[in-house]
Structures are given as structure tokens and as C-alpha cells.
């Protein structure tokens, strides 16, 4: 039975401890899924890179979708006479959907994805020169 490579697991654990812990969880899901099909020896740096790139592409697609949805909501809201759109979260309070803060958060999110994936790639490259 295949077991996840310990070095790769350690690198992912670093991500799990970061503020972007969900990123680490998603990568872990993908890498653990792969180990069902490949052996420890076969789970090399290329496989880890492949998963990171798949992950990065999906994450950036989500950001792109969010941007497009926010724009569409802004346009519809205006036609319906709604000036401000807010979300009432139980834990996080009130979120302004159309404000500049949200756009800035999306940009931060996009940058964090790219930086985290680059950092993970660099770390894996260091472990598997």
C-alpha cells in the first residue's frame, strides 16, 4: 500500500500551519489521492509540482469567478435600486460585498496563492534537487 512521502508531507504541514491552512489541506487531499495510484518511489518532485500547478490553476479560477460574480452582482443591484450589498456572517460580522475592501481581499488572496505555490515549489526543489 502506498504511503505519502515524508518529505512531501513535511512541506505540506508547513502550509497547514500557515494562515493559508486551507491551501495545505487542498494540496494534502490531492497528494494523498495520488498516492493511491503511485508508490512512494514514484511520488517524486515532478508529481508534487504537477499537483501544485493543478491546485494553483484551480485556485486562480476561483478568484477569477469571484471577481466576475462581484461585478455582475454590482450591476444587478444597481438595476434593482440596491446601493449596498452586505453579508451577515455569524462569526465574522458584516461583510461588504461590493466595497473596495473586498476587491483588495481578492487581490491579496490571488497574491497569496501565487506566493504560497512558489514557496512550496522552491521548498520541494530544495528537497529533491
Amino acid at each position: 500500500m502506498a504511503v505519502i512521502d515524508e518529505d512531501v508531507r513535511r512541506l505540506i504541514n508547513q502550509l497547514l500551519e500557515s494562515p493559508l491552512s486551507w491551501l495545505g489541506r487542498e494540496i494534502m487531499t490531492e497528494v494523498e489521492g495520488l498516492t493511491r495510484l503511485v508508490t512512494v518511489e514514484q511520488l517524486t518532485r515532478e508529481h508534487a509540482f504537477t499537483q501544485l500547478r493543478i491546485f494553483e490553476r484551480r485556485a486562480l479560477e476561483v478568484v477569477k469567478d469571484q471577481r466576475a460574480m462581484v461585478q455582475a452582482v454590482a450591476s444587478s443591484a444597481s438595476e434593482l435600486g440596491v446601493r449596498e450589498v452586505k453579508i451577515l456572517w455569524e462569526d465574522e460580522g458584516v461583510e461588504d460585498m461590493l466595497g473596495e475592501a473586498r476587491q483588495a481581499r481578492l487581490s491579496d488572496f490571488e497574491r497569496a496563492i501565487k506566493e504560497s505555490v512558489s514557496a512550496a515549489e522552491a521548498a520541494i526543489a530544495g528537497r529533491y534537487p
Binding site: T29, V38, T50, D65, A72, S76
Partner: protein
């Protein structure tokens, strides 16, 4: 090996349905509500955004989490809704993430729902809470990243929810064979529309299930900045509601 990895990567799309899904799922819900309100307005019906106190509002608050109809006297921030009157004269309300109570006593969140105002007013008059029974329109939304197939559990949960809210929804009609003929009773209230809208692909098996039980399915809706699918579903729903 490359083929195996490619196959694995594709298969893994199912185990990775979305990233930061709660937030983007909520956006998907909000977009659907606004597009539906716009589609209703586009049919010449006046659609009014209202505060929980029933007053017109230009600041619209969505539920971030599943919730009840609030007290109209509440002074805290509470969710808004859209109000409109259908051609028959019946007043309806459009809500997001509202909880409905089924026959079992369990509460079920409905992502987007349209419900008669008089039913909601009864809840308001007793100080708020869940709405009993099935709404006129129940829309379940599932946002997934591109290339994902909708898990079959999604339609199973919609089915179970609709059944608990209104068991008669399941049965289209009942035929009684009498001595000298048959009598047919319509049991299903045709105002009760159940829809499952997703950005993912829908499998043939899920489609069969939906077709048989009358759950309208809409796949590949609203990704990559293309919202024509959401507008199409909204248009269909608005037509059914008006």
C-alpha cells in the same frame, strides 16, 4: 505513468470540489437571487428590496449562514428580502439561506426560495422562526470549480429535503379505480418548483434521478465570467412564478 497521473489528476477533481467554497458559494447564491429578482422585474412586475421590518431599503443584507425569519421588531442587523406581487394578486417573497421546517420537525436550509408572503407573515406574527413546508420555488445551488462532476449526494439531499417539507410533492397524481371508471386526483402542487443549479457537470445517473422525480437540473451554470446560464435559469423561474 504520465497517463496514470493525468487520470489521477482528473479523478481528483471530485475530491477537490471548490476552494474557500463557503465564500464563493455565497456569492453564487447572491448572484442567483439578484438575477432572479431582475428577471421578475423584466416581466413587468414591481420588485421591491425590503428590510426585515418590511420597509423599502437600498442596503440589502444577505444571510451568511442558514437562518430564520427574524422578528420585525428586532433592532439588530437582520436579513433583507425581495417582495413582489404575482399576476394573480398573491404577494411573494424571495429569500436566501432561509430555513424551512419539515414534517419530521427537522429544519432545512434552502439556498434560494420564493414563498407566499402570508405564510411568512404568520411566522413574523409569532415572533420569527422557520417557515413550515415547501416554498413555491426551492433552488439548491452548488458551486464547483471547472471540470468537476456534481456528486450524486447533492440531488439525494435535495430530494430528501423536498420530501420532508412536502411529502405530496413526490406524487404527481393518484388514480382511484372505481367500479365504473377511474378518478384521478392531482396531488402535486404545481406551484412547488424544485431546482438544482450548479457550475459543475451533471452525470447521466443524476439526470435520470432528477427527471423521474421532477427536480429541474441546470449544469455548467455561471463559471468563467459567463452568467448567461444564470440568466436563463432565472428567466425560467420568473416565468413559472409570475
Amino acid at each position: 505513468m504520465i497517463n496514470e497521473i493525468n487520470a489521477a489528476a482528473t479523478a481528483l477533481g471530485i475530491s477537490c470540489p471548490s476552494l474557500a467554497s463557503e465564500k464563493v458559494g455565497k456569492l453564487y447564491e447572491i448572484l442567483m437571487i439578484f438575477e432572479l429578482a431582475l428577471a421578475i422585474k423584466g416581466m413587468g412586475v414591481s420588485v421591491e428590496p425590503r428590510s426585515h421590518q418590511g420597509k423599502p431599503t437600498a442596503v440589502f443584507y444577505f444571510r451568511g449562514n442558514p437562518g430564520h425569519i427574524p422578528k420585525t421588531t428586532a433592532t439588530t442587523l437582520e436579513p433583507s428580502y425581495f417582495f413582489f406581487v404575482r399576476q394573480s394578486g398573491a404577494a411573494l417573497e424571495l429569500h436566501n439561506s432561509l430555513e424551512y421546517r419539515g414534517h419530521s420537525g427537522a429544519e432545512h436550509e434552502v439556498d434560494v426560495s420564493v414563498v407566499p408572503s402570508d405564510r411568512v407573515d404568520k411566522v413574523r406574527s409569532r415572533g420569527g422562526g422557520p417557515v413550515d413546508g415547501l416554498p413555491y420555488a426551492l433552488v439548491e445551488l452548488k458551486y464547483f470549480t471547472k471540470g468537476t462532476t456534481l456528486p450524486k449526494n447533492a440531488i439525494r439531499s435535495v430530494f430528501a429535503c423536498a420530501f420532508d417539507l412536502s411529502p405530496s410533492w413526490l406524487v404527481k397524481e393518484v388514480e382511484l379505480r372505481m367500479r365504473n371508471g377511474t378518478v384521478t386526483y392531482q396531488t402535486r402542487n404545481y406551484s412547488e418548483e424544485v431546482h438544482l443549479v450548479t457550475s459543475a457537470k451533471i452525470s447521466q445517473s443524476t439526470k435520470k434521478f432528477g427527471d423521474f422525480y421532477g427536480i429541474d437540473l441546470h449544469e455548467h451554470v455561471g463559471t468563467n465570467g459567463d452568467f448567461t446560464g444564470i440568466k436563463a435559469v432565472s428567466g425560467q423561474l420568473a416565468f413559472e412564478l409570475i
